[in-house]
Amino acid sequence: MVNMARPSLPSEDKRWRIVQGTMRKHGYSRNALIETLHTVQQSFGFLDKDAIRFVASSLRVPPSQAYGVATFYHLFQLRPPGKHTCQVCLGTACFINGAERLMKHAEKSLGIQAGETTPDGEVSLLAVRCVGSCSFAPVMIFDEKTHSYAKSETLDEQLQAWRQP
């Protein structure tokens, strides 16, 4: 009889039950690693070390493998995201319509590089690779909302709106 003991939940937080649910759905199979990390990120917004360790031991994969997967895929975030996210599409159609300039403007306005979050935790700046809205290039996505034919002013206005109490 294999020892079926599973690690205890990292905390009382109810969201761990959701994570557990994904693993149970896949019969705690090792190949559910990516699916489970998706659930962690959806539930908590990012993957921290405790989460990766918990998932690794639950699925019986070496922590190195889980960490390797978490760092390999661009979608997985290892740091908490800002309150708002600003994504600049850097697909080909957006690129030839001036997305690089938009990104430079965003980096300058926010004082951070793509992939970083402002020190006050307000805004994360991300580069995305083609969201498929190529006909409306360049495209920016503020939180969930897509902005077509984006300009530097589009960003300025959004940042101002976010700063208002």
Partner: protein, 562 residues
Amino acid sequence: MMSHEELEQTTAKVQQEQRAAGDRINVCVAAGCLSLHSDAVQKSLTDEAKKSGARCSVRGVGCMGLCSAGPVVSHEPAQAVAAEDKTTAQPTRLYGGVQPGHAAKIVASLNQEPVRELAIDTAMPFFAKQTKIVLENSGSINPESIEEYIAAGGYRALLRALHEMTPAEVVQEISASGLRGRGGAGYPTGLKWATVARAAGATKYVICNADEGDPGAFMDRSVLESDPHRVLEGMILAAYAVGASQGYIYLRAEYPLAVQRLGVAIREAKRMGLLGAEIAGTRMSLHLEIRLGAGAFVCGEETALIASIEGRRGTPQPRPPYPAESGLWNSPTLINNVETYANVSPILARGSAWYAAQGTAKSKGTKVFALSGKARNTGLIEVPMGMTLREIIFDIGGGVPAGHTFKAVQTGGPSGGCIPESLLDIPVDYDSLMQAGSIMGSGGMIVMDDSSCMVSVARFFMEFCMSESCGKCVPCRAGTAQMHGLLTRITEGVATHRDLDLLVRLCEMVGATSLCGLGQTAPNPVLSTLRYFKNEYLAHIEDKHCPAGVCECATTPAEVNA
């Protein structure tokens, strides 16, 4: 248990309901128009229709193609909805740039003249020059209704194959059609199916590659958002042909709407007994699951995609063994792209001879392209293989905006190349595009005019390959970084002729020695721009000047002119 009779009953029921509902107003609710808030347009049209008491229905449909005119709305007069022969029926009206405020006008126009200021000419070459096989239902059916797919002729090919054809006969039909893989490489689909069908193994898998990673490509997303059942039907037929009972659809997590609509389609197909155990009362079973990608371009490579489904880092394996012999969990695995599967049911429904009669000698059927960049009309198009690039860009696309001149068209994404004006009369097929130094690729087609700098475009694609390199093999990991550095030097106006020579040597080395397609094709954008636009490279190196005025070279164009 689903039978032919039930399909016909469903069809009759849907058609009766549609006739009873009168005029139809269709709003595009695929991701493109949705990002222009077509959901608000749909809502106000629904409200206005209710308020006016007009005999009409308002519904959400998939992509109608002309994204640059979004949000797009079409109006099918009641007579056209009911007509058996659509060619003689009153034509469908098409409206572009529709805002919620236009709703009342559109509803009031139902039995009147069309709303002039919103009307799109449906006879223009953008529509007239297209041939729709993959996209035939896109924009005319509700993607979340299996009944509407059935009423449009769906799932008949599947039932006929299950009841009247052997798996070998299905493979034979696909082989005879001449269909080649639409993911980009163009491998004969029938040959791939035959290899998996022949492979020894009790367990086999079918996989749909929906990891559309090429920047500037949104064909697969649009097909999945507009007509998901077409892809499912193709996959079920493939599973029957090769003897698989488990399948996966590997889909980009960046496409939440496609994920949701495909999920609905899978549930609906199961409910109708067209998916799951004992499909349509036969012994054939297929269980399909969606697997979400997590943002890695290399996972479009089939062995990397398999590694990702297995829950590992998406790094490729050397081939052979090919997945057809040893793929997912070392079992024989069939991997095809979304568009390839979308072609399967029409081929079986209308016969391989019909399909093979379209296209060129070696490239049959049609190809879907995502036309974007500096063209007047942009969006999703489907053309017969063999159409020239000039017809696509200047007739369908309407050419470049006024005041600019065409410079190049980019096909094949980071694995493809830039084709100049002098070659626009080549036919679009796998072999001609490769001879021109590009590739067919999955279908991204980006038009560039004189405002684009070709060195900067090459650097853009190299930056993409560099950051997407999985790091497993040295030529790709280190080579793309070195090439990117050299291209950056050129764009900054600080490179020498020796840098250019080194760049060319690196292109050859990385192309010849990389493990997978990502590295092997990474030099293509550089090589093709060097081949056709070498003067732009030389201008950056010798004159420290960017002819397009894009790069911030050491000297500005103004200083050069002074």
